[in-house]
């Protein structure tokens, strides 16, 4: 197993399209790191450069401190599993799993031992003699993952392996992946556009957008101390709400609506030079408390839509032209069309520079 270092990595395609711009990151031995971003953010190009399927335009990729830029995928000894399972359909599951081991010249007894071991972990022991076509989609993806992990690769790369599984299978496969990672401690890089998946699985997350790494951190860091508005808005569903505001005093932001001006108290101090600046205030839907009656320092809004989702309800409220989402417990008794008063907990208020979108105020919730 290897440590991976990317130093000033660039991918420029023909025609000058810059898919990855100056990416710097590392993955520790045994760490599970996700590369997260919307489509076109450069995450797949990054993965393909690590695998060796794509030339590195500039910069260096190191495994355990040794440059691997010029090595073939095989020489890099990386394992890869994709969204499509790419199994060998005429072969049994056993043969599918044994294939990469035979390819490296392992003896029959060793192969047998390894296949049995990995099949046990992925809960495939009783389907070893089946052909892939007889298995469910979830089982086929387990075979694909098992085959990727079977031969002690230096690095394991997983490219959206769960993205088209149905929800229940996805939840269980996530647990399986995490369970197996805890046992094998393989260096794993997981590429996904699904923030929930990245959050659930990873030790750390690399967030990318438009070819540029926006932030690298643990879930808590990204959640409570997002580097900018993009990261803040990308993690969480429904996404963080954004409202225009103004920093009035060291511990106060104001939001102005047709009905008046509302002061939000802050928990974190802000540098003097920002006083008087126009900002974008950010608050997560779970952190807005709705009140049915007028309350001091609460902002009145019109309740437009209620969506029940089981344990919770998602409310869509309108503050002048801005729509906000509020997640509340299902037992609240309210009706569409009524006015509700919104309370923002001062610990959960974020603020971003109006133009640069860089974070000025982060949530004061303790990390961890």
């Amino acid at each position: 197993m290897s440590r991976v270092d990317a130093e000033h990595l660039w991918k420029i395609y023909q025609g000058g399209i810059e898919a990855v711009k100056d990416a710097n990151f590392h993955v520790e031995v045994g760490e599970f790191v996700a590369i997260l971003g919307p489509s076109g953010c450069g995450k797949s190009s990054t993965l393909r450069m690590i695998v060796g399927l794509e030339d590195i335009t500039r910069g260096e990729l190191l495994f355990d401190g040794k440059i691997v830029n010029h090595l073939s995928p095989r020489e890099r000894n990386v394992a890869l599993a994709f969204e499509t399972y790419a199994l060998y359909y005429p072969l049994t599951i056993y043969e599918n799993l044994a294939f990469p081991l035979r390819a490296i010249g392992m003896t029959k007894t060793e192969v047998n031992k390894k296949v049995k071991e990995i099949a046990e972990m992925f809960d495939l022991s009783n389907v070893l003699e089946e052909k892939p076509a007889n298995l469910s989609g979830g089982e086929q993806q387990r075979v694909s993952l098992a085959r990727a992990l079977i031969r002690d690769p230096n690095v394991t790369l997983l490219d959206e392996p769960l993205s088209h599984m149905d929800q229940r299978v996805r939840v269980i496969l996530r647990a399986t992946l995490r369970h197996i990672h805890n046992r094998l401690k393989l260096t794993t890089i997981y590429v996904t556009h699904d923030q929930e998946e990245a959050i659930s699985l990873s030790d750390r997350i690399i967030v990318m957008n438009e070819g540029i790494i926006q932030q690298i951190g643990t879930v808590d860091e990204l959640w409570n101390q997002p580097a900018n508005k993009f990261v803040a808005g990308f993690l969480g569903e429904p996404a963080m709400n954004f409202i225009a505001g103004r920093i009035e005093k060291p511990l106060e932001i104001s939001i102005t609506t047709r009905d008046g001006k509302y002061a939000l108290r802050l928990n974190t101090n802000i540098e003097d030079r920002h006083i008087g600046s126009e900002v974008t205030v950010g608050i997560r839907p779970e952190k807005i408390i709705p009140h049915l009656n007028k309350k001091d320092n609460c902002i009145p809004s019109l309740l437009e839509v209620i969506e029940p989702l089981g344990e919770t309800k998602i409310l869509t409220v309108k503050l002048d032209g801005t729509e906000l989402k509020v997640v509340t417990s299902q037992d609240i008794k309210i009706d569409q069309g009524q006015v509700i008063w919104l309370e923002f907990d001062s610990r959960d208020i974020h603020a971003f520079h109006r133009e640069t979108e860089i974070t000025l105020i982060e949530s004061s919730r303790a990390s961890g």
Binding site: I172, E196, E304, V305, P308, E311, T316
Partner: protein
């Protein structure tokens, strides 16, 4: 707008029964969803309502008119499908205006009136700035909204929508859901909506019908199907993480009733729940059995054995989210999923589980719990 009534509708393809004797009624102005996994018969039901397919038996009424023998164009329904099927050589405006220009409607609207209608619906769906573009210059999400706008430009008796927002990414879906519900509230239209996504069904609908292999499993409000699922199938279709289903024996000891999965996993069933459990119990090999359902949010975790009803299971995996943890446990050949507030239990130590009896469900067994 009109109501829709369906009585004993059946559709077979050869030996395969796609829709099996289903009956329901959708009220005037109601948002009615049909929810089920793929192959449940959802789309076939919609096609029968639209008149694209003919039923083998059963009756369909739209606004008290029997429409079985009417062709689609005479049923006065509007459909939007999962694939957008927009006209690529038309602008967004022309695509949306298309239904208004049908031969039968010729000359009904002046160009000014037409523009007014198109702009109104486009604004409701947030695509008013795209009217001059061609479909190929739109994102998938924008195309789906154009397709919806085209369906909604005229006011038919009923709208039939088949997974109209399924291709949107998670973020867009949240906003499209809201837009759709706002539209339905504002226009007070009758909508029959097909989806496989329980979030869409719960969030949008007044009532939901759940289909399983062509059979109607339950019709109810979002609250009813979530909190009182009529079967293990319905329970498992709705909720994320999914509900835990556990089969076990029902035993009597010292005047109390117990649910027993294995020797070290046994707990007493609260007296007031026993009768509802007995209603769904089945006998097998001399013992009495029941299937217990409990949602991950309703399992309490602790590092201590807090009551006689707690039991210990080995931790399989832990996922830490921003504000909560999902802890998976191994139980026989099944996994049990619990969702708890972050930090409420140290999962590196021994963990004890307790099922919150206020939230227990009991079911007959309608499918076997395969290994994961």
């Amino acid at each position: 707008m009109a109501d829709v009534k369906v009585a004993n509708l059946t559709k077979r393809y050869g030996r395969y029964t796609a829709v099996d004797n289903i009956s329901f009624s959708c009220n005037d102005g109601e948002f009615f969803s049909i929810l089920g996994p793929s192959g449940a018969g959802k789309t076939t039901t919609l096609e029968l309502l639209a008149g694209i397919k003919k039923p083998d038996s059963g009756k369909i009424f739209i606004g008290n008119r029997l429409v079985n023998d009417l062709p689609p164009q005479e049923r006065d329904v509007a459909m939007a499908f999962e694939n957008y099927s927009l006209y690529p050589h038309f602008s967004v405006y022309e695509n949306i205006a298309f239904p208004l220009r049908a031969p039968s409607k010729q000359g009904e609207l002046s160009p000014g009136e037409e523009r007014g209608k198109v702009e109104e619906i486009a604004a409701l769906l947030g695509i008013e700035d795209l009217l001059d573009r061609r479909p190929q210059h739109l994102s998938g999400g924008q195309r789906q909204r154009v397709s919806l706008a085209r369906a909604m430009i005229r006011v038919p008796q009923v709208y039939l929508l088949d997974e109209p927002i399924s291709h949107l990414d998670a973020k867009l879906k949240v906003s499209a859901r809201t837009t759709l519900k706002k539209l339905a509230n504002k226009l007070k239209i009758t909508i029959i909506y097909v989806t496989h996504d329980y979030r869409e069904a719960l969030g949008l609908s007044d009532r939901i019908m759940i289909l399983n292999k062509g059979v109607n499993e339950q019709i109810g409000t979002p609250e009813e199907v979530y909190f009182s699922p009529s079967s293990d199938f319905v329970a498992r279709l709705i909720g994320d993480p999914p509900i835990n289903l556990v089969d076990g024996d029902v035993i009597e000891k010292e005047g109390k009733t117990f649910f027993k999965v294995q020797d070290d996993l046994t707990f007493a069933i609260r007296d007031d729940l026993v009768s509802s459990m007995e209603r769904v119990m089945w006998k097998e090999g001399g013992s009495r059995n029941v299937r217990v359902g409990i949602r991950p949010q309703h399992i309490k975790l602790s590092n201590k054995m807090r009551s006689d009803n707690s039991f210990h299971l080995p931790v399989y995996a832990v996922e830490h989210k921003a504000d909560r943890s999902i802890v998976t446990f191994e139980m026989k050949d099944n996994l049990v999923i619990a969702q708890v507030e972050k930090g409420s239990c140290d999962t590196s130590k021994e963990c004890w589980l307790e099922f919150d009896q206020d939230h227990l469900h009991f079911f007959k067994r309608s499918f076997s719990l395969s290994k994961r």
